[in-house]
């Protein structure tokens, strides 16, 4: 039986934590979610001698206050799951800020090992460390590593083992950091009251708890709930505000930095004046007042190109492959037979799996690009450049990328919200991203615009539709921000990390992980829904009396004395009529018919309703479904016969309303599935479905009614 150890990796973002994690665990990784939150939980294992180390990669954080989901997760893991050792990964070239987290870990009293990562860069930048002194200041062994060159890992593992073997002991309620006279006075009063409460003393270290309460840590308050303590702390807070002129939480943070500065003054020597680095030179160009935005837009264009243009041939191959597979399966049955099993295999399963896999090239290429942008440090610059605009809608600079990608496809776009740290910002972005008109909606516009509008208006109509989407996205974001997802605006305090060359291994791992997650988590849902939709459009089949009528009609045509061409034409006609009747008879058709009262105010009839149900599988299916309900056989967006039928049956106003409804309404099921997976909640996925569909209905009804009243687009 092997000895088992749980080792948690903590550290600032950009400190090279992921590189260390990848190096320690190799491909033996497992990615999951922490329950109830969108934060990812990464685990891996690493054998060392006769010990099996389970390495948990905590989210990168600057601090352990309950500021973001990431920090809550990291802290709760350390407090609740008691890892045997916490390894704090520190960017040695940016010591002071990185040590802030260290001080907090030290206050928590966990068995700690410090890793001075990127120590080679620190050397070049002229830092010399007295590791022995630093180690005594921060009460933990220090190991120097160079993550991307794989240096120092043996020492790290042996230090972890040593700490696990003899964890450092600490006196109960010991003062780790002196917060200065004023704060200490208040802290000792609070600590006294805590020590009098047996229930609290059993759960927390009284000194740590006193500091956290004075820091006004909401998470900790939630666990304490004591009225006398609340009153006492409120009094202390007011007292400190009076004498120091600042809030206790900022004073405490300041004192921690004081401790760090003191330690660094004694143990760190900097031989070279901080000069302008390579990174500054790059920034001078890419965040330049004039060049910044054009460069950004150019890069975004390349990402778009990479995702959708290079992805295209791969998508074509996948389509061909599934087409071939379908053909092969069809060959198992004699021609003309209509077995349900065949239909299930062909339309339900192969169609469904194809619908899942088809997005994979897009997702892989997009995440390849995003991984490069992120690992190189440019992502932070995008947020820096775009924040002004996004701030106006109540979002974060980083929300820009998902919304832009949304014009290509909502699925990778929603997955790209991953780069936004704040849950609220992330959810708002996820909710409104489908309003960015995606590529699959284009065939609908391509069918409808030429059917109803003069040629000169083609471009203009398309533009109007896209702009409506953008405006609605902005309005909805504002609305969500002030209703469901309101709350104090989260401060935009973001590090602009130095530019780094991304490692191939890191980028590929990241990309692969996304692709795998998509297939595994979203894929199963998409497949399920597509089989359901297949069933809805297939069952119940036509009653025998009806289908035998079509059989008879066919026979009549076959027998009749007609030219072959005419015969074929009439047969096709009967086929089309039969599929129209079958669709109308099916569950989807019945729902479409039953929904007519809801559809009427928008100017829609049951045909459009049925087609819309089909469009839930994928937006472009709307066109094919319209083809079936109008009995024109296989239709695509270039179908002139279908356009003629549309023109005959509907006014241009209705045409516009169809586009409007398709733009806004329920995004396709894959989007819903990905939202479920990314928000880690069915609630938000269904809210997206319901919310957007309701919005679509309201907007379309208003447009139709006002349009009719003003007599616009009637002829």
């Amino acid at each position: 039986m092997k000895h088992k150890l749980v080792v948690a990796l903590a550290g600032n973002p950009n400190a090279g934590k992921t590189t260390i994690f990848n190096n320690l665990t190799g491909t033996k990784q497992h990615v999951g979610n922490y329950p109830g939150v969108t934060v990812e939980r990464k685990e891996g294992s690493c054998p060392y001698g006769d010990t099996e180390m389970k390495i948990v990669d905590l989210p990168g954080t600057y601090s352990l206050t309950a500021y973001s989901e990431d920090e809550v997760v990291a802290r709760n893991f350390i407090i609740d799951e008691h890892p045997d050792v916490v390894v704090d990964v520190i960017d040695a070239s940016n010591l002071e800020r990185n040590l802030y987290l260290t001080v907090q870990l030290m206050e928590l009293g966990v068995p700690l090992v410090l890793t001075f990562n990127m120590s080679d860069t620190a050397r070049i930048r002229g830092f010399e460390f007295d590791l022995e002194k630093l180690s005594s200041f921060f009460r933990a062994p220090i190991v120097e590593t160079v993550g991307n060159k794989g240096k120092g890992f043996d020492q790290l593992l042996s230090a972890v083992n040593a700490v696990a073997a003899s964890p450092p002991s600490r006196n109960f309620g010991e003062k780790i950091i002196d917060y200065g006279k004023e704060l200490e006075e208040e802290l000792s009063i609070i600590q006294e009251m805590i020590e009098a409460d047996q229930a609290l003393v059993q759960k927390f270290d009284p000194r740590w708890l006193a500091v956290k309460l004075l820091e006004n840590d909401k998470e900790v308050w939630g666990k304490v709930r004591s009225l006398p303590l609340e009153e006492l702390v409120a009094k202390s807070t007011a007292h400190i505000r009076d004498i120091l002129g600042e809030l206790p939480e900022t004073a405490i943070a300041g004192a921690r930095y004081g401790y760090i500065s003191g330690a660094c003054q004694e143990a760190v020597r900097s031989t070279v004046e901080a000069r302008h680095t390579m990174s500054d030179k790059i920034d001078a160009v890419v965040t330049n007042r004039v060049l910044g935005i054009p460069i950004f837009l150019g890069l975004m264009y390349s990402v778009f190109q990479l995702t959708f243009t290079i992805g295209d041939p791969f998508m074509g191959w996948i389509e061909t492959f599934f087409g071939w597979l379908g053909g092969m399966v069809q060959g198992w049955w004699p021609e003309g037979s209509d077995s349900f099993l065949q239909s299930l295999l062909l339309d339900g399963i192969i169609g469904g799996v194809g619908g899942v896999v088809i997005f994979l090239p897009n997702i892989l290429f997009l995440f390849l690009a995003i991984a490069i942008l992120e690992d190189s440090g440019y992502m932070a610059r995008i947020a820096f450049i775009m924040d002004r605009i996004m701030h106006k809608i109540g979002l974060h600079g980083k929300s820009f990328i998902p919304m832009l990608i949304g014009f290509g496809c909502s699925i990778p776009a929603i997955m790209a919200t991953r780069t936004i740290e704040q849950r609220r910002d992330r959810l708002v972005t996820m909710m409104v991203t489908p309003l960015m008109s995606c590529g699959a909606k284009l065939p609908i516009y391509a069918l409808i615009i030429p059917a109803f509008f003069p040629q000169a208006w083609y471009g203009r109509m398309l533009w109007i539709i896209y702009v409506i989407g953008i405006i609605l996205a902005i309005l909805s974001a504002k609305l969500l921000r002030s209703t469901l997802l309101k709350g104090e605006a989260i401060p935009f305090v973001m590090e602009l990390p130095p530019y780094r060359l991304p490692t191939i291994k890191g980028v590929l791992l990241h990309t692969w992980e996304r692709g795998r997650l998509y297939l595994k988590k979203a894929g199963t849902i998409i497949l399920g829904v597509s089989i359901l939709l297949w069933a809805m459009t297939t069952f119940p089949g036509l009653p025998d009396t009806l289908s035998s009528r079509y059989v008879q009609e066919r026979q009549a045509v076959e027998m009749a004395n007609l030219l072959d061409e005419e015969k074929a034409l009439q047969l096709e006609n009967i086929d089309n009529q039969e599929s129209q009747a079958a669709l109308r008879h099916s569950v989807a058709g019945r729902i479409g018919t039953a929904m007519e009262p809801l559809l009427k105010p928008m100017g829609f009839d049951w045909r459009i309703g049925t087609a819309l149900i089909g469009a839930f599988a994928a937006k472009e299916v709307f066109v094919a479904q319209m083809g079936i309900v109008y009995s024109v056989g296989e239709a695509d967006e270039e179908s002139e016969t279908l356009r003629d039928k549309l023109k005959k049956n509907y006014t241009p106003l209705v045409g516009f309303c169809i586009m409007l409804f398709c733009l806004i309404s329920a995004p396709c099921m894959a989007t819903i599935a990905v939202t479920k997976r990314e928000s880690n909640s069915w609630g938000w996925a269904l809210a997206q479905l319901g919310g957007l569909t309701t919005l679509a209905w309201v907007v379309t009804v208003l447009t139709f009614q006002i349009g009719r009243w003003l007599e616009i687009g009637m002829g």
Partner: protein
């Protein structure tokens, strides 16, 4: 360990000479060095070999000599030593320039970093302390040249007091009008004075946690193209901050 202690004094002289020659001519040759230090060519070669061994210079026979980054740092240390001592002798001890230079040349090798810092601090102190100042130094020079006399003492002290009051008032005015970090322009440096309690508590705490604490130095590196978030350098790294979230951070321009 200071650089001064790692090298012998003649080695430091060589480094210093090479640095000066490079900054004058772009590159140094053994001939220039022997001319400047008035030593023989063979001792120059020996010294260069020794320096190369310590990774201070890039040197190959008959090739030009350049300093490595380590060598440059060491040379700069020595030069700084020299300048501080020279300034001290001229400004505080009222010694003339040539003598000061010559003495600094000899003293620069034997002074530790700590004492050097004290020299700087003392010179600053003399300039700032109400009982010191440039006039006081001038008085010292006068007293050295003339016989000791107490004639002007009273009027000198009353003038001195007036000066103190003026300076105090000026300083108060400066403290009275700290500016918001928000109002800093590109390239300006400032010291954080206070994080007022008026702003959002969450934002303030976050900003302080990222290292913007009272007493820390900030420099505005750039402003975003659309004018809003600003990029400040703090504790050696870059931080992006929204203007309306740093309104309550008071700074003093440096």
């Amino acid at each position: 360990m200071t650089v001064c202690q790692m090298l012998s004094s003649s080695m430091e002289d060589y480094l210093e000479a090479i640095y000066h020659i490079i900054s004058e001519k772009g590159a140094a040759r053994a001939k220039d060095i022997s001319k400047r230090l008035k030593v023989g060519a063979s001792s120059v070669t020996g010294a260069l070999k020794a320096l190369k061994k310590r990774g201070m210079v890039n040197y190959a026979p008959y090739d030009v000599i350049t300093l490595t980054s380590r060598g440059e740092a060491a040379a700069l240390d020595v030069i700084r030593c020299h300048e501080v001592l020279r300034d001290f002798m001229i400004k505080v001890l009222a010694v003339d320039e040539v003598d000061a230079d010559a003495a600094a040349c000899r003293m620069e090798h034997s002074i530790t970093k700590k004492i050097l810092e004290r020299f700087i601090q003392f010179a600053e102190f003399v300039e700032v302390c109400p009982r010191g100042g440039a006039k006081w130094i001038a008085g010292f020079g006068y007293r050295c040249d003339h016989d000791s006399s107490l004639d002007n003492c009273e009027s000198c002290i009353s003038q001195c007091l007036k000066g103190v009051q003026m300076r105090k008032k000026q300083q108060e005015e400066k403290i009275m009008t700290p500016v918001s970090l928000k109002s800093l322009k590109k390239g300006q440096r400032a010291k954080v004075v206070k994080v007022r309690t008026t702003g959002s508590a969450a934002a303030s705490k976050r900003i302080v946690e990222m290292g913007v604490t009272p007493g820390s130095l900030v420099e505005v590196e750039r402003i975003a193209p659309l004018g809003d978030p600003i990029d400040v350098r703090i504790r050696g790294y870059h931080l992006s901050l929204r203007k309306d979230e740093i309104e309550n951070i008071d700074v003093e321009l440096i």
